[in-house]
């Protein structure tokens, strides 16, 4: 019975299928909102789904400079790890797998899609991809520091003396004394997290790695057909996973009676977060250069996260 239930968790509810569908929907919302902000109608909400299925229907060309296994395996590994992350994030109070070290596991699992993109890019053997992966790696290094500081601050705040690295404890703590976002000492961390989310997902100002104008889609240059579809699905799921993570870390306290409306509340909050941090910034700014991005993350965003860590550290 447990196997069936966990299978359901893995494949259907918070796992692969739900994340994929909702990720695509969230990507659609993001594109629509950005379009509306540029005063144009914008694609229908199910456009990313169309993109995904169209790509499934296309030919997958493997260039002869590419290493076949890594080339085809990378998107799948990215997809698998994203599906796994979702199991640790409490979707409306329901977590499939929870232990005492969720945050560190999430921290590591989030690096795997990045690594998958990098391995995929470098295995395609194109020089554009080479430049793309170096930028992707520097972006990863850039947002990792503030991300870690935020997680430590939340763990310290939620856990008090013995650390709360598990998402469930964070959720219960928030249920007990109000959302993390409304604690004034945690507001800088929330802002830092809001800025980390677009970098991790790779939306406009921070998509230095996949700059389609300068280095023609960076690591994804040699991808076509279903492998490319999988990568596009990965980036859509990343959008959902990261906004889900933000909601569960900072807005986890909202609890209604039933699971169903908890899930709906969770989804609505995810949409709000996506619109707030990914779409608005996307519509308003232009792409950064790589060292500006690195300097931005390691000075401003890390500073915000650090000052909230210090505030929490002094017990506020």
């Amino acid at each position: 019975m447990i196997i069936l239930r966990s299978l359901f968790y893995i494949l259907i509810f918070p796992g692969a299928l739900f994340t994929a569908c909702f990720g695509l929907f969230l990507a659609g919302v993001d594109r629509k909102v950005v379009a509306r902000m540029q005063h144009r109608i914008g694609p229908p909400l199910r456009q990313p789904m169309y993109d995904f299925f169209k790509l499934l229907g296309k030919e997958t060309i493997i260039p002869h400079a590419a290493n076949k296994i890594a080339f085809l395996g990378a998107p799948i590994i990215g997809f698998v790890s994203l599906a796994l992350i979702m199991l640790f994030i409490p979707v409306g109070g329901l977590t499939a797998f929870s232990g005492n070290a969720d945050m560190i596991v999430i921290l590591y699992l989030i690096t795997i899609p990045g690594v998958a993109l990098i391995v995929g890019g470098s295995s395609s053997g194109s020089p554009y991809a080479g430049i793309g992966i170096s930028r992707e790696m520097v972006t990863m290094m850039a947002y990792e520091l503030p991300f870690v500081l935020v997680l430590l601050a939340v763990a310290r705040k939620a856990g008090g003396s013995e650390l709360a690295f598990s998402m469930e404890q964070v959720a219960n703590w928030q249920a007990a004394n109000g959302n993390m976002l409304f604690q004034w000492s945690m507001i800088p961390a929330a802002i830092a997290m809001l800025l980390v989310v677009p970098a991790e997902v790779g939306t406009q100002p921070f998509d230095v790695a996949e700059a389609e104008t300068e280095i023609c889609e960076g690591p994804l240059i040699e991808y076509s057909g279903s492998a490319l579809g999988m990568f596009k699905l990965n980036s859509a799921m990343k959008m959902f996973v990261m906004s889900g993570l933000f909601v569960s870390l900072f807005l986890g306290g909202i609890r209604t009676g039933f699971v169903v409306c908890d899930v709906i509340v969770f989804i609505l909050l995810c949409i709000v977060v996506t619109i707030l941090c990914m779409s608005t910034i996307h519509a308003v700014t232009a792409r950064l250069k790589i060292e500006h991005l690195f300097k931005f993350y390691w000075t401003f965003v890390a500073g915000m996260a650090l000052c909230s860590l210090i505030l929490v550290w002094c017990g506020l």
Partner: protein, 636 residues
Amino acid sequence: MIQHFPVLAVMLLFLGAFCVEIFGSNNAGIRNTIAMLAATIALVLIYALIKPVMIDGEIISYWMGNWAPVSGYAIGIGYEVDALSLFFALLVVTTFWLSGVYSMSYMAKDHHLGHYYTLYLMLSGSVLGLVMTGDIFNMFVMIEIMTFASVALTAFRNENEGTLEAGFKYLVIGSMGSSFTLTGIALIYGQCHTLNMAQISAQLCTGMTPTTIMAFALIVAGFGVKSYIVPFHTPAADAYMVAPTSVSMIFSGMVNKAGVYGMIRVLYIIFRAMDKSSVQMLVVIFGAVTMFIGVTMALAQHDFKRLLAFHSISQIGYVITAIGLGTALGITGGLFHAMNHTLFKGLLFLTAGAVLYATGTTNLDKLGGLSKKMPKTCICFLIGAFSISGLPPFNGFVSKWLVYQATYTKAVETGNFVYAIVTVVALIVSVMTLASFIKVTQAVFFGQLPAELKKTQEVPASMLVPMYLMSALCVLCGIFYPIVNKYLLHPATEATLNVTNYIDKMMGDGYAAMMGAQNIEVAPVQFSYWNPIVWLILFVIIFVAAFLVITGSKSSRGQVLNPGVKYDPKYATFFSGEEELFSQVGGSDLFWGFKTDWKGYYKVLEGLHSGIVTDYAGWTVMATAIITVCMFIFMR
């Protein structure tokens, strides 16, 4: 019968060394058989010790020439193998056995291999002896043999440029370290009138006199040099690069572990200084600085093996930080990371050797696209790279997680913000490790194949077998952590923290109680959520689900086209329409974004690594002076 095994193993290796020198110097057959025979028997002897020491928790003590202690004074040289020393002995034995198998074909092209195998057996025997001895002077003798064997092995291929210089640097810094240890031991001997570690630690329970503090500082500095902590790390970087790969694998797997073992032995058991928070802070800061400088230097390297060398230094930083915390969780994390480091760093050095053997160069800018020519090596490399950067299914993840948890719980318990900073530094260093291995993956295995490397083939089987073994171990240790913890880590941690039964076993019961040493109860470290089997099923299920989506039934999906025709432009790489020309994005210029942002830091760092021996010697002395001053302040 069991207690004879430790000495037997060590003596066997030294005997093998002499036999190889005498009989095998011109006949390859005899030489190889003697070397491998000695290595295998030593392996079997040490593995036989697992049952008594690890499972039954018994400590093996053996007095040379049966000179048992007389009325509370230890005269003879005692061998004592408790869980901690057996843990390191297992690492040592496994590493040098694999290196032996690897060097069978790797060194085949070299000449006068007789000397090579003699030095190889001497080095292994000395490190094994160092790890298992109970007598501090005997430990010093083993350190001497180890140092000089590794100096000779560093400069083995003396026709290559840079080997003699590296050997010379290693000699100078190494012997400075040994001399510090020797003076320390002399002071200890003057104070405690004995050389047996157990008795020394028993006598020091009462209190530390200025001479013992001086001795403690010097010995700690000596072992610091041996484990290549930052101020002393410079010879390691050169030595690993120029030494033959099977030797640099021994260096990074065994030699710096011997240094770490010495540090643990000295800090925890002999001087029991780790209950003082200030000493802990000092060790942790040294560890954190080593971590950070090691990885940032690695990011700037152009050579494959030199990059791996700097990584060894930074991973040792991890181990030292974890050990410096003093908590049970910290030691477990540190020991497990030491073990994992031996595994994945050994694997990475073997792959580097394979690349060197197949292409003749390890310069990152000249290599590229080798995954098509050497698929097996590429897979082993990827496993090693992912485990060193700590990605979940592999062993690096578990040990690094233990280290983070330990540092952060320490930070919270002591309320000291420095440990939180150390946790953050540890996490960032882990990302930078991942970054530098992405750089190597792109530079060596993926990317485009240069014209002159067209003819490279896969390395012979005898080099691949150790690689497979090590990658299997990497994956297994990562997944079956609870078993590893129960049989290896927990007993070792308990042995580190409980000094009394170490002393009683050597000096007879009740001796420790007389001296007032006390025990700390060690709760086993659980890692509850990590039930790997569920994870494995998880991974496989979704992997299969996703694979179906990608390849799917041929009819409805676009087919996956294999690049059949060679120069059909459809399968050529996209160069904005140009003819396909070779333009490999070299490994060295991958992180210019990061380096331009940190220009100031890198200018200073490259300035410090000047390459002149006198600078390094200056640092060694300066660092020892700092340690001594700190010890005097802290141990008061």
